[in-house]
Subunit: 226 residues, 4 copies
């Protein structure tokens, strides 16, 4: 069952069709769940995910630039700060334990799948408005929330990836998904009104679906590390 | 009577209320019409208007960045080229005749009224989408068209500003206003549908009205040169 | 004496010449210092300054977008969060005490002096790189630090503006100035090397000086409220 | 031998090392040269290249936004217009001959290799300044010029791709490469001075080399169509 991250997310998730399942039930995700994911794949993913977070933080910062209400600004600014000054530190810690330094992470050569995804999100923000950017940002934020929540219950007792799962199942992270979801609902309300049937709906869906597809590519890239 | 530059423009023009009349019937405009505008005011205006065109061209370029259809791209790219490689040359010629060189123009110290206007337009594009930018660009493009058309009929036979008036009354310039107007109508159609009553309507109107107000400030600045 | 906010700031401050003094010793500042500033002027300033902070926060967010090192990202993201989730709340509290609500603040009609300043800063970021944006952001951040520090010592014992002065004299705020100054020095080092004599120096100085000039206009606007 | 497109290009080309050869001597290029490239590969390439040109035009428009001299504006605005109102029409004609309509082209699903490349270029412009954007744009503009020039001499007499080769060997296209190269040299001169050894040199080289690598990926994608 889909977690409750707002009605716009529910619409977009539905609209992405099979791509959403391919993303949230990817072989990489199943490997985290049952513990069979090779460590090398996980580490490759982690390094690329650090670089991803760099540009994802830049994209959330662009969301502050594009905000049109004080609430949008507050939530997006808080998200940027959480990403840059907290979540990225977690990656640094995990990677340090594996002998990888932060400077190495920051300067890691980006895989093309990583580049394609983050720059697509940035450009959605440059080309469109706040909602165009949100449609491109949502699959990552909420997909990880959904995966975390599901895997917290279904994971193998001995999966070595329990800590990763816990990060996204955590009530704090779930609260982020809910607050971002509520903010998106408000943003839709004040800019469009009823989304289903609105002329912009198809284009916003395209952005959400493309970002979902790029998430699939990101997992796929991780598997190459094995 | 308002010229026919499309239904969105008609709505925005109406929505701007008195500000639209204050802009299109400003003392500076009456001075162009009856020929009483001091030459010094006109030259100050011309120098600032050159710098304005620099940033206005940058704003139309941003419109290409924000376009979502091939037709939007074609019209906006053509406009940029017309502005940069043609209209600015006219300014250069007129200014050269008055002994002012192009490098002087490009590096002229911007008046705060000029700065406020152009950067407001740029930021409308950075913050919002194509339509947010169009709402901020429209008052200049179409206001000049409307003024040119009216003054071509009402001008004093001996006004020294007949050439300026002719530039904007010219069928070529009028065609630009009509094609931009039609493009805006299409853009509204494909992004919003019915504009009146749409949640975004107020914000777009705010951008149009603010740009109109900044046009008034621009004429006012010109008068200071007298 | 100038506070120690790094060597780039020292160079830019010197380069701004009289404009820097006109800004930091403006009649508005003297009115805060000796307590003669009319309350109405202060309140007008405060409302406009809230709107200023909205766009200033957007500009600092753009700085995250433009960062090229993890340290730049951390400092800029922290600044955005401090501005949006803390400093703006102080304004809200002060204004609430004067009977002005936050929604009123957010939707206050921007004075042209305010608009010109903030949009100039945003566009410096859109047009140039991280340093172009920093040169436009520095006069506000550091000028307020310098004013706060000086007025903390020189202020009349009974000025009603002691709390305002304290905000910027505060060690926390001074630490922000120092850390931003050090970050700018690093950014100059890694992008330019020796700034004095570098081809870009004049253009960066222009941005700093223009922002300083726009600060003067901002105080001037405040005085109109009296 | 490298064509003479200016000294900055010569430096960047050299700095890209083997990647430059891998790009300009790719199997896809050899297939155009000797005529063995399967038609299906060429058509896939052509459709993706149309979508590429859409975003490439947006990137050149961003270059107008980021220009700091009137010459930079004129060259970039002319390039945008040439791309949007001329070069894209050539693609449309070629594709129409193969039964593919312009709307199909504009809405073609972008390959990830295409997406990665164009959005990387856009973001280079958003993150950095005019030169950062030029370093990311140069490999396409000048690489095609170099390939066209070489293949015009070496091509098999009966290659069905003679027209494609001619487009880029054409004196008009070569003149574009030379004028863009001269503009980049001027831009380096006025912003950096001596590029070799400048602190920014490594980062600009990274952008150029990454774009070169993404060109390799683009040819590779084309081959998949066979």
């Amino acid at each position: 069952m889909a977690p409750n991250y707002g009605k716009t997310f529910a619409l977009w998730r539905e609209g992405a069709g099979e791509a959403w399942d391919d993303y949230t039930h990817h072989a990489f995700v199943r490997g985290l769940e049952n513990g069979t994911l090779p460590r090398a794949a996980f580490l490759l993913y982690l390094v690329q995910d650090y670089v991803f977070l760099v540009h994802f933080s830049r994209a959330w910062s662009l969301a502050v630039v594009k905000s049109e209400t004080i609430d949008e600004m507050k939530i997006c600014a808080g998200t940027v700060n959480a990403l840059v000054n907290h979540e990225m530190s977690l990656h640094v810690k995990t990677c340090a334990a594996a002998g990888i330094e932060e400077a190495t992470l920051f300067n890691a050569r980006e895989a093309v799948e990583n580049l394609a995804y983050t720059r697509f999100v940035m450009d959605a923000g440059l080309q469109g408005d706040f909602l165009d950017l949100m449609a491109a940002l949502a699959p990552c934020v909420m997909g990880y929330g959904e995966i975390g929540l599901r895997l917290a219950k279904s994971k193998a007792p001995d999966t070595p990836y329990a800590e990763w799962i816990e990060t996204y199942a955590d009530p704090d992270y779930q609260a982020v998904c809910e607050s971002v979801g509520a903010m998106i609902d408000s943003a839709v309300e004040s800019r469009i009104g009823d989304l289903s049937g609105a002329p912009r709906a198809a284009r916003l869906q395209d952005r959400f679906t493309m970002a979902t597809t790029l998430e699939i590519g990101f997992w796929q890239m991780g598997l190459k590390g094995a």
